[in-house]
Amino acid sequence: MNENNFIDIFIDEAKELLFSLEDHLLLLEKNINDSETISAIFRVMHTIKGSAGIVGLDNISTFTHRVESIFELVRNGKVKVTKELIDFTLSARDIILEMLHDNDFHLEESEEYFNNFEQTLVYVAENKKDNTFKTYKVKFIPEKEIFFSGNNPTNIILELQELGDSIVIPCYSNIPKLTDINPEHCYISWDIFINTNKSINELYDVFVFVDGSSEVSIEPWRSDNIEYDKLGEILVKTGHIDKNALNDALLDQKKLGEILVKNNNISETQLNKALETQQFLKNIKQSSSPIRNEDSIRIKSYKLDNLVDLVGEIVTSYAQILETGKETKNIKLINQIERFGMLTDELRDNSMNLRMLPIGSTFSKFNRLVRDLSVELGKEITLITDGEETELDKNVIEQLQDPLVHIIRNAIDHGIETIDERKVLNKSNNGTISLIAKHEGSNVNIIIEDDGKGLDKEKIISTAQSNGLITDNFNYSDKEIFNMILQPGFSTAEKITNLSGRGVGLDVVKKQIEGLKGTVNIESEMGKYTKITLEIPLTLAIIEGLSVKIHDQSYVLPLQNVEACVELSESRKIELNGKNVISFRDQLVPFIDIRDEFDINTPRNNIEQIVIVKTSSDKIGVLVDSVFSSTQIVIKPLSRFYQGLKEVSGATIMGDGTIALVLDIEQLAKNVRSRVNNLC
């Protein structure tokens, strides 16, 4: 591996760390006394600093070191967590992110910024009372003649206990026999675990009158330090049992405490005391243990893409082998192929799962967006997220980022009212934007809802008319009206802000979501809410498709859009009199003739099929020769030579080895609509 590889790995890891840093900072802003979050922030800084230094990115290392130093002061309780500190650290985090791409980014300017900020911190530090709790292990072995100096170890320990929550473990094992003891000497020592917001020096101050020959050591107790975690070890350490008793008890394979009580090695009281000690340390460990990542390995995403491509090839090959096998009529061979098919299915599912990522990583990025923009606009907005664990194909998640930014910006800028406006409307000052992901069949629905002013239907219609998007006064449904705001160039915003209102945005959102084979649905009630639902397929690479044929050419329609298949007989064709509209479940549904669409001039069948499919706004029919079967297909992109073929979203290889085109339902629907409009 060369140096650049290491830098690439560092950059990947640093980006992840910086995103988690942003989350931690926003959490800290909500709970400024959360010592665990402060520690987590410190750890992120520390890791980035160290790793950057290792790969030779010294500017990043130096810069991060300065931020880390500030957070060390915070961690040690010397600096108070303030909004200014959070703002500063978020900005510093952004600078580090930029520096990942350009190691020299803004280094000189940031120097001055740092100096100014650090001066502010000194002021804060002077007025700061400590509020960070840490756990220390205090070991106290008094000198034997401690009583001659007027000291009483019990009083010293009691004084120490006043500084925090503590547990004291006396050790009696050094008390000698009657003949050997000097009764005026001290033979007992103590281990004290104390959870306190005092500094280590304040703890040492308790022992200030203890003679130097006594042993006092105080060190931060780390949660991964488990030397006293086991009950037996605690009892051996305190002298209640020796190691032999411990080993005998362990061999009995019963509850250690019960055995020791039964063997009269300890009393129940002593057992309870030891269990109490164990629980105390466990509690500290639990409350301070860092969030552990699940075991994982880092793989370049293109390798996963390659794997999924190869699995797609295997799925295709399997379909071909099955076809060939069936032709041989060799039952044994067919059984073996079917077994191979089951394994292929498993392989496909597992490899697709590798690309599935929880959407939470994308959601968490919006906390910052909402925080910064609401401050900029003088609004109070809370972002509520749910369903972060919902998994989507990583390619889908990447492409969802921009549409979600558009929608959330719109909600902040146009949806949520200002504080004054909300007061007038008897709404709470604090507006809410919910960002929710949930499974819905083979889709994931992403719902963005705000409790703001809602959409003004009359204003939308009037704007659509003045923009030439509609020319009539047709009685539009709510859905149709709301869909108008997804048209290019549409904006009802009277004031153009730097956030939104330029008429660019929601049409782009629609296009991007349709690019993901998804749909956009809008619901709203004036003065109450706006709810935008993005229906996104779980994955783009392999879908369930309905294969249809025109002459000897196969086409595939996404099965999730298919509602029904209707026969179109000769007699019915006569009834339609050349009009491409049929009655389906008491509804007139326009249909598109694929033969016409693709200029196919082969003879028609006597009986044709209309596949009724639902689109984002309505239903259309697709006229084909015959409906073949439903099948899982691996979608392959078309080469750039076919980019102009809008009605086709990709291609796939069928079981018989032929190539089938995957039809783009939304584009076909657009074609139908434009023809209907032309007729009108």
Partner: protein, 103 residues
């Protein structure tokens, strides 16, 4: 010969040496030695160490000694303070069981 010593009200660093010498001398001279702690109200680490030491040696049959008497509330409180634990002591047998558990 059985010898019983009443330890008095105090077993602290201030009188521990005298009590110790008294005990050692009587242990040497007696077949069976009983330490009466009925009046004991004030005990510190040195006193507790001495009690521990006596119980430990008796456990190992080095001496033939026993504790007797009723535990005063003050004594129980002091023991709890010295051991930094609520020991639920009410009888001298409880105290012996507690100390035995240390060894």
């Amino acid at each position: 010969m059985t010898t019983t010593i009443n330890i008095g009200t105090k077993l602290t660093v201030h009188n521990i040496k005298e009590v110790y010498i008294d005990i050692v001398n009587n242990v040497d001279d007696s077949d069976y030695f009983v330490l009466d702690i009925s009046d004991l109200t004030d005990i510190d680490i040195t006193g507790f160490q001495l009690l521990c030491c006596l119980i430990h040696d008796s456990l190992e049959s080095k001496i033939n000694i026993n504790l007797s008497g009723v535990l005063t509330d003050e004594f129980i409180k002091s023991i709890n303070e010295i051991t930094f634990s609520e020991n639920n002591l009410s009888t001298v047998e409880d105290l012996i069981r507690l100390i035995k558990a240390f060894f």
